[in-house]
């Protein structure tokens, strides 16, 4: 796992470095520490990190601006902050976890566990930040119809017919998108509120027909669970 720590307090950064090393052990491929995101943000996006620990003082708006950029990246973002009163907002922007200061080893291990797909995810995302040519586009979750995997990226299909490319993988988005979004296929995440019916095709293949007429393929192993949810 490739990890970046953004923390300007020397001793806190040292603590993060030490604890992350202990928790990940040999799984830690690379660990970088920088003391602020600011101008370094583009460089951060070019480096293939899996996980970024971000200390933003979320007191002013600047912190949230940076956060919006960070969550559009391919990596998962975990906020480490003293400002617990703004945790919910951070979750709605798409952070995977919010670790309040001061923190101990257990809390940090739980956050890293989430990043590795262990344990429950927050799934409180309200809007998706999409980076396109350095510009941010915010897509409200209500606008999102389904998400399709496209190599290391994900295609966001919106209700008004737009298709946007997100840097995160489908698996990472699944950990963030709220409850009505369901993985119906290896390559598809769908807002089930928009599903109309499940149809079978010859060759025991299934497809989900959405309200706007779109057909989404359904994985054979997921049919039973999906049927239960649609009833």
């Amino acid at each position: 796992m490739r990890v970046l720590v953004v923390e300007d307090e020397a001793v806190v950064a040292r603590r993060l470095r030490r604890l992350i090393g202990e928790i990940l052990g040999s799984d830690l491929e690379r660990l970088d520490v920088i003391d602020h995101l600011g101008d370094a943000i583009d460089r951060v996006f070019e480096t293939p990190y899996d996980l970024v620990f971000l200390d933003l003082s979320l007191h002013g708006d600047d912190g949230f601006d940076l956060l919006r950029h960070a969550v559009s990246g391919a990596f998962h973002t975990i906020v480490v902050s003293a400002h617990t009163d703004r945790a919910l907002e951070a979750f709605e922007l798409g952070v995977l976890d919010f670790v309040p200061k001061p923190f101990g080893r257990d809390r940090l291990a739980r956050a890293i566990g989430r990043a590795r797909g262990q344990g429950p995810s927050p799934r409180r995302l309200r809007q998706l930040a999409v980076r396109r040519a350095g510009q941010l586009t915010l897509v409200p979750i209500e606008q999102l119809v389904y998400v399709r995997a496209a190599d290391d990226y994900a295609e966001l299909h919106t209700a008004d017919g737009r298709v946007l490319l997100h840097d995160k993988t489908l698996a990472k988005l699944e950990a963030l998108l709220p409850e009505p979004f369901e993985r119906v296929h290896r390559s598809y995440l769908v807002d089930l509120r928009r599903a109309r019916r499940l149809e079978s095709e010859p060759g025991s293949r299934y497809r989900l027909v959405l309200a706007d007429g779109t057909d989404i393929p359904v994985g054979r192993t997921r049919v039973a669970a999906l049927r239960k949810r649609l009833v």
Binding site: D8, V11, V12, R15, D35, A82
Partner: protein
């Protein structure tokens, strides 16, 4: 809301003022009942019983207007003729003579003895002083027509040389002559009572509630006005022998002086403008000079003219300087001046209690308004202090400081427990000093430095930096508002990265030309990304510093900051605070 409330409070004062005004006019209106006046008399020094005889030929005696009569000898006679109108006798009611004079006398009516006012004598020892206001009934048998009045007088006990020693001689309806002063007396007592009530209230408010001196001056002013009104009316209220008249006049002059001195003290204290001492010195000089005027009436008139117009000028200045509530005082003073000029003669006799009551009312209104304003300002100041205290404490309870410190502590505890213990001690010391100083508006500089040093110790451990404070040669006993340099330090730590190289902060103190100059240098090594919340915190930090300085020094401080190069050619962020040197400020 506020304005409404004041208006409600002012309304009763207006009603009271109008009532007083109308009642005083009614006195003037009914001041002349049916009466005949002896205008001119023949005067002769000497003493001869034959001079009482109406048939005596006094044609070679000099004729003088009654109010210009001077005592012509140890004993002297006045002879005059007065015509009784038949109408006066028509009602059949008793008639009488009223004589106002600074003299003892015997009255002969058409040659017949009518009465003694005191005992006429050839010297002060043989004379017994008569009443200054003497009323004697005329015989029931008196007929219409011309009558001869002869007055045998002596005036050894006046005690001074009056402008006029003889005021008036009236014949008229006995009862209405006796009653003439009653109305006047009633209203005199009424307004004196009102003035004393106001006066006592404010004197007691000053003494018991420890309010400002303006309360005392206004209280004494109202009391002195009440006293003057009473003393002015003493002749009508109680009567007295003429030898006491000089005491009454002296008392009136003293009270007139006191009223005007208090009036000046009140307006200059209530509206403290520049040049107060010189103004008072000059005005009191002119007040004293007006005591040299020839007559007692002139003395009083001079005192009032000087006092009222000087106070008027001062309050006009006050209004121009923004004390809008001084407008009421101006109205009252202008009214008094106008009445004084318009009714020069009647001012002291008839209008005094009216104008003094009204003046006190107007001053009262402006005082209440100013007092209310001051109380609101005072409350606002207290609120501001409380807010500053909370702001200072909150900065140390705010998550950024507290949680980062605790996280660093956790790390030290796990890795190097001894460092953690030392850091806990430093933090404890910082919080303790902070709790001590936050309530105060000023602390010794030494305490401020201790606060800064414990903060630096905490931050040095938290940030893994080497931080120091050099404050050589500053006067640690001099006072400073709390957490001023502490806040500057915090700002510097937020904005700069001191990693790698030790950072030393520097405080220097300079005293010149009555000014204390405090120069604070923070090493200037700005962080690469200033996207921190620091932009917001800088604002509140500097606002706090300015607010604290203003709380202690008003406008008598300056605060400047900016980047510069220190003597050792390193870049620093320099803050220069100039404070007044005299103890006046932070206490």
């Amino acid at each position: 809301m506020q304005r409404e409330r004041w208006r409600c409070g002012v309304l009763p004062s207006w009603i009271m003022g109008i009532v007083l005004g109308l009642s005083s006019l009614s006195v003037v209106a009914q001041a002349s009942p049916e009466r005949m006046t002896l205008a001119h008399v023949q005067v002769q020094a000497g003493d001869d019983p034959a001079w009482a005889d109406p048939a005596f030929d006094d044609r070679d005696w000099p004729e003088v207007a009654l109010h210009e009569v001077e005592p012509a000898g140890p004993i002297f006679w006045l002879r005059g003729r007065i015509t009784i109108d038949p109408e006066l006798l028509a009602s059949g009611r008793p008639i009488g003579a009223r004589f106002l004079a600074l003299a003892s006398c015997q009255l002969f009516w058409d040659g017949a003895w009518l009465g003694d006012n005191g005992t006429v004598g050839t010297s002060a020892s043989t004379e017994r002083p008569g009443a200054i206001d003497w009323l004697v009934p005329l015989p029931a048998s008196v007929e219409p027509g011309v009558h001869t009045v002869a007055l045998r007088c002596s005036a050894h006990r006046r005690g001074f040389e009056p402008m006029t020693g003889f005021y008036v001689f009236w014949i008229g309806d006995y009862l209405s002559l006796a009653d003439a002063g009653r109305w006047h007396a009633t209203q005199t007592l009424l307004s004196a009572g009102g003035l004393w009530a106001i006066g006592l209230f404010y004197v007691l408010t000053f003494a018991l509630a420890r309010r400002s001196r303006s309360h005392l001056w206004l209280g004494l002013l109202a009391c002195a006005s009440g006293a003057l009104v009473i003393v002015e009316s003493l002749r009508a209220l109680v009567g007295y022998t003429y030898d006491l008249h000089i005491w009454r006049l002296s008392l009136i002059t003293a009270l007139a002086w006191a009223i005007n001195a208090l009036l000046l003290a009140f307006v200059t204290g209530r509206y403290p403008l520049s040049g107060r001492r010189r103004f008072l010195l000059v005005t009191h000089g002119i007040l004293l000079a007006s005591l040299a005027l020839p007559s007692y009436d002139a003395k009083s008139a001079g005192l009032f003219l000087v006092g009222l117009s000087a106070s008027f000028g001062w309050t006009v200045r006050a209004v121009r300087r923004g004390w809008s509530d001084a407008g009421y005082a101006i109205a009252g003073l202008a009214l008094c001046l106008l009445v004084g000029v318009w009714q020069q003669q009647a001012f002291l006799d008839y209008f005094l209690f009216f104008t003094l009551s009204l003046l006190c009312l107007f001053l009262l209104v402006s005082h209440i308004l100013a007092d209310g304003r001051e109380r609101r300002e005072h409350a606002a100041t207290e609120l501001r202090s409380a807010r500053l205290e909370i702001e200072l404490l909150r900065r140390h309870l705010q998550p950024h400081f507290l949680m980062n410190t605790l996280t660093a502590l956790a790390e030290w505890f796990e890795e190097e427990p001894e460092v953690a213990s030392a850091m806990v001690e430093d933090l404890g010391r910082e919080l303790r000093i902070l709790a001590d100083v936050s309530k105060q508006s000023s602390i010794p500089l030494g305490q401020e430095l201790a606060l800064c040093r414990s903060h630096l110790a905490v931050m040095a451990r938290r940030r893994d930096e080497v931080l120091g404070l050099d404050a050589e040669g500053v006067d640690e006993t001099a006072s400073i508002p709390p957490a001023v340099f502490h806040t500057l330090l915090e700002n510097a730590l937020t904005h700069n990265a001191y990693r790698g190289e030790p950072a030393s902060f520097r405080l220097r103190e300079d005293r010149r030309d009555g000014t204390r100059v405090l120069t604070f240098d923070a090493p200037h090594r700005p962080r690469a990304g200033t996207d921190d919340p620091s932009t917001v915190r800088e604002g509140t930090g500097l606002r706090y510093v300015r607010a604290r300085l203003r709380e202690s020094y008003g406008d008598r401080f300056t605060f400047d900051d900016g980047p510069t190069t220190a003597a050792d050619s390193r870049p620093v962020w320099r803050t220069v605070i100039r404070l007044p040197l005299e103890s006046g400020g932070a206490t």
